[in-house]
Amino acid sequence: MDRIIYLDHAATTYTKPEVLKEMLPYFTEIYGNPSSVHSYGRETRKALDLARERTAKALNADPAEIIFTSGGTEADNLAIIGTATANKKKGNHIITSSIEHPAALHSCQYLEKNGFQVTYLPVDEYGLIDPQDVKEAIKENTILISIMTANNEIGTIQPVREIGAIAKEKGVLFHTDAVQAVGSIPNDVRDMNIDLLTLSAHKSHGPKGVGALYARKGVRLNHISHGGAQERNRRAGTENLPAIVGLGKAIELATQDIEARNEKLRALRDRLISGILSSVEYTRLNGHPTKRLAGNSNFSFEFIEGEALLLSLDMKGIAASSGSACTSGTLDPSHVLLAIGLPHEIAHGSLRLTLGDENTEEEIDYVLEVLPQIVQRLREMSPLFNQDKGGKIYV
């Protein structure tokens, strides 16, 4: 294989040529500072406005409700820390889940160190949150519920609409990290009673280093970056114009034809899932069988470790990722895999294959050809694996 088969779309995606094309003039020709009075500045302000309109439209929001940030991480930080500190007179309790992205989880942990209380809701074996749990966790002093729309590792899609309805009924703010969901499932913030929503361009064929927070009009929000009065004083720093233009275009494209794209992705994904489950024993699919992102698959292969698997796949031209600790240099494997109940040793042997538009059936078939051999080779090296005893010698 000369070409690389890229199956790591949940990590990041390439910037689409038509997106890049819209960005290019803003590097070298229309480069003014949008805050400037002169015509160079005004041109860029127009582009900023257009990107804001496109982003708002994709979410059924109002342009004034869109705040551009440096990415999903900053948007999550702003949503959680910004609302918590702005609403602390109303209460100091936050509800989130145990499978959020670190950008949300660590924001909550930061708040815990600063006088807030956080409830981390458990999930079931598929990674699903029970809306009833959310409802029961709400207390007098609850000010914010932050639950991701879809999980970045196992792809499980949460009952966002139900949670939104509960939040509204109880008068609690509801934030959702939709970084993985945008372009994969429709996100209508009005219809779903979402008060704050995080997105990031580079997960949907936009550029890296730019994201957005939708914050419903009237939501009290403190800025978390200190400096100029950009973004109506909600986010300081010279606007990253080319990237913002790219985000606008990418989100516009990503939220078109979702169903057609998903159909294709789902077919490929299901081919991959059933192929792997039927050809590799001691393997499980992580995440929900149907309530999952169309492009996401996530497996655990017993007796082997994820990074070794990734390296082996890479040697065969397949780019993937893992929830193994050894990919990050820490010792604990993915908090998401632990939260759905996997024992550490099985969580370590996980593999995430996330598909995108450009993947083909041939590529999937190639993966199905090489993956079983790779798993077999690693198992043969593993002291945990004993063919004779049916493999199950670990505890």
Binding site: F303, E305, S312, C326, E380, S382, P383
Partner: protein, 135 residues
């Protein structure tokens, strides 16, 4: 990220396997942390004549297992004990900082196997004399 040497030892690990009648067996690490290494040695006249390993772990763990078995094969016990995580990493043309703990695994495991050998060896002697005295 990894040197060519690491990738070579990962893709073509030397001395993979088990020795049924090993003189010493070392096992370190645990599945919780994502790496377990098991080393089997055969010893004759204080020389490690054969060595095999099995490893559950990342690329660096497998490569350090492989190289460390190469490093001690044919060596005397005393020489083998001189192995350090640094010498293992150097023999692989270096390891990324976050992976240095893998070279610890190899050092510890080799030493555990030798200790096991010595214990058994000693035990055998003790047992022998015990047997003698019983008989």
């Amino acid at each position: 990220m990894y040197s060519e040497k690491v990738m070579d030892h990962f893709m073509n690990p030397r001395n993979v396997g088990e020795i049924k009648d090993a003189d010493g067996i070392g096992e370190v690490g645990n599945a919780r942390c994502g790496d377990i290494m098991k080393v089997y040695i055969k010893v004759e006249n204080d020389i490690i004549t054969d060595v095999k390993f099995k490893t559950f772990g990342c690329g660096a763990a497998i490569a350090t297992s492989s190289i460390s078995t190469e490093l001690i094969k044919g060596k005397s016990i005393d020489e083998a004990l001189k192995i350090t995580n640094k010498s293992v990493a150097e023999a692989l043309d270096g390891l990324p900082p976050v992976k240095m703990h893998c070279s610890m695994l190899a050092e510890d495991c080799i030493k555990a196997a030798i200790e096991d050998y010595r214990k058994k060896h000693l035990k055998t002697e003790v047992n022998t004399s015990a047997k003698e005295s019983v008989e």
